[in-house]
Symmetry: C2
Subunit: 397 residues, 2 copies
């Protein structure tokens, strides 16, 4: 067990109608002029954005708006947001949406106080000392950005497939998160399933560590994964099931606020390998993870078969009786793939809409920051290993 | 599942040597003049208090001291602390110790800004709007006060057995908690066992709720309990086992920061019934809980046998095959008693050092605030029911 810092100052209000507390919480955290930041027209048409506008107006809280955040949020819109916040003297950002909107808000909140371009933060060239406070109304359970310290932005300056980078800093953790499961009832099933995979992966990326003796953290991680697997099945069948959607929503926050990584060293290789795919091809992050994780697991399993046995038995319910450790471990990965497929996820690159591996080396090169880093901690991976994992991801069934 | 607020802003630094970060964190949270608050001489003799003094001095942080906090911390010392902080213009309290020291610090931090006596807060007659910031160096894993919103104080104005009351407010959550498991290696085994029971009970008091569909929260609660049961066995055998002591320490914080109660309605009847015992007889809180909980469970089991079956199977590993629900539920309670006994805890009032029930009615009357309240939410209990539970606690084996 390593030493660790656990710091999750985000105030969570959870349950039906909590989005009605936005103005009150903005004031409580010192906001007096708000940027209302959101995505496409669905949140406007659903009535959520009009209701928030009305709430802010009724509370006497002046605000300006910036909609149009896309999945895999773009740097160009972040820059626009920074300029708008400066011009309008905004002192609080309210992000209404899912991970993309919240990440975009975090990027604006960092960039607001920077003298240089905000991309420097994602290039790890800038250490923030102050950020604009951010609050959130969550409408998609997936990214966990509502309690996390991280954000991921697509640099659309690159004309030949975007460059997608993430960065973490505790100063970007939102002040509050208003989480009403009913706001997720209208999501398409494919998007719910992508969220389920993303949530599972936030725990899995922490679970595969070389640290031992994590009794508490392992119990929490395995329990969270079992809960998400169980409720994920229900949710994709019936997105208006409050129990399922509520448990998934809460699991989404807990899976990425740091709780499931205490005492371990997180891996996140699957995320980084997937980020190149969604950066270049604009595929859904969760769907990309459903393809990459089993390939990663197959590739690194021999590094610590015992850990994969624990994963198979405690998370996927594999009965190890009469099997070798390796057989049990493999069965765990197979059950994971079967589950992903059962909720409508792709399992290989072709199913993800990437028909060939023409740009395989380019992906792997970008993933190592042009040879400047390895990825992963459970097993450290360089360009060649990453290419091998993409190849498994292309072929697996 | 109910709506809920989850707010745990305490920054946790966990691992060997983290107590050396105290001065840095005090400054980060705005402290410039410190009250160093602690208990008996053991922390002085161990070298911990001298090392903290040196650290503060080296950092140029002026401080005053108030030691002498006793288990079941006394109101009289709290008042002394408030006066000292005002006289010395203290702006930060560093509590070095376990739950009693931290609770005493919280009481001082509330009372500092009150015009009336601090006991009004514990009588629920005062709503704080500001408190002195508190940081902690934890030396006992038990109370969970290092991340919690609650504190419990003994009013020693009462001459005939103290009156012990607890109160909660988010403003009293500590700013930081420095948690080095090695600082707990020198605790007596009895005290470690008391801590294990207290930690288990903080989850159990939330686990027994009438709310359904708590998939995530149940998984987390059951996992935490299994982890504490497992590592508790090791810890009382070998208090210098880092893995055991570290897992117990971390579980102690997570069991009382609110995590295991999200979506449920907490009960806390066993705590309140026990508080009367430790208020009047000054017994160790954890030992009192080991006597009261099985009695409470026996008394209320029929209210929801299914919940006690889940507790028996998922937490205590009872095999339900071929048994009635009630048999399984009873076996769970029996295994819990057996476990408590195996780590050296008492199981009835006589073993706790309370030889008779002469003051039974007085205890029950105090517990209902002289008839002004019922206790518990899983089952609401009045004076007569509380007396029945004390009677079971006297007789059980």
């Amino acid at each position: 067990m390593t030493g660790f810092t656990y710091y999750t100052p985000t105030k969570v209000l959870f349950g039906r109608g909590v989005e009605g507390q936005a103005a009150k919480e903005i004031r409580a955290f010192g906001g007096s002029k708000v940027l209302l930041h959101y995505g496409g027209q669905s949140a406007v048409k659903s009535g959520l954005i009009p209701a928030i506008r009305q709430q802010l107006t009724d509370a006497g809280l002046p605000f300006v708006e910036l909609g149009g955040v896309k999945p895999n949020p773009r740097l160009s819109l972040v820059r626009e947001g920074i300029a708008l916040c400066r011009k309008e003297k905004v002192d609080f950002i309210l992000a209404v949406g899912g991970g993309s909107v919240i990440d975009s808000a975090k990027a604006i909140s960092v960039g607001f106080y920077m003298d240089t371009d905000v991309w420097d933060y994602y290039e790890n060239q800038f250490q923030p000392v102050k950020t604009l406070p951010v609050g959130t109304v969550l409408t998609i359970s997936a990214a966990g950005s509502e309690m996390s310290s991280s954000s991921v932005i697509n640099n659309d300056d690159f004309t030949d497939g975007d460059l997608k980078k993430g960065h973490s800093d505790d100063l970007t953790r939102p002040k509050f998160a208003l989480m009403n499961p009913e706001l997720t009832f209208t999501l398409p099933k494919y998007q719910i399933a992508c969220g389920v995979v993303d949530i599972l992966m936030h725990t899995i990326e922490r679970y595969f560590t070389n640290e031992k003796d994590l009794t508490v953290t392992d119990e929490l991680a395995e329990g969270l994964m079992r809960a998400v697997i169980k409720e994920g099945r229900v949710a994709v069948e019936n997105p208006t099931n409050y129990t399922a959607m509520a448990n998934i929503m809460w699991a989404g926050s807990l899976s990425h606020n740091g709780l499931t990584g205490c005492g371990g060293v997180q891996d996140f290789a699957s995320h980084q390998i997937e980020m190149e795919l969604s950066g270049m091809y604009d595929v859904a992050h969760g769907a990309g993870l459903a393809v990459i994780f089993p390939a990663w697991a197959t590739y690194v399993m021999d590094h610590d078969v015992g850990r994969f046995v624990q994963f198979a038995v405690n998370v996927w319910g594999v009965n190890p009786d009469g099997k070798t450790e390796k057989q049990t471990a493999v069965e765990g990965i197979e059950r994971c793939k079967t589950y992903f497929r059962s909720i409508g996820m792709p399992i290989n690159l072709a199913e993800l809409g990437i028909p060939n591996l023409d740009r395989l080396e380019e992906l792997a090169v970008k993933c190592t920051f042009f040879g400047k880093r390895t990825i992963g901690n459970f097993v450290k991976l360089g360009k060649e290993e990453i290419m091998d994992i993409y190849r498994i991801a292309a072929e697996q069934k």
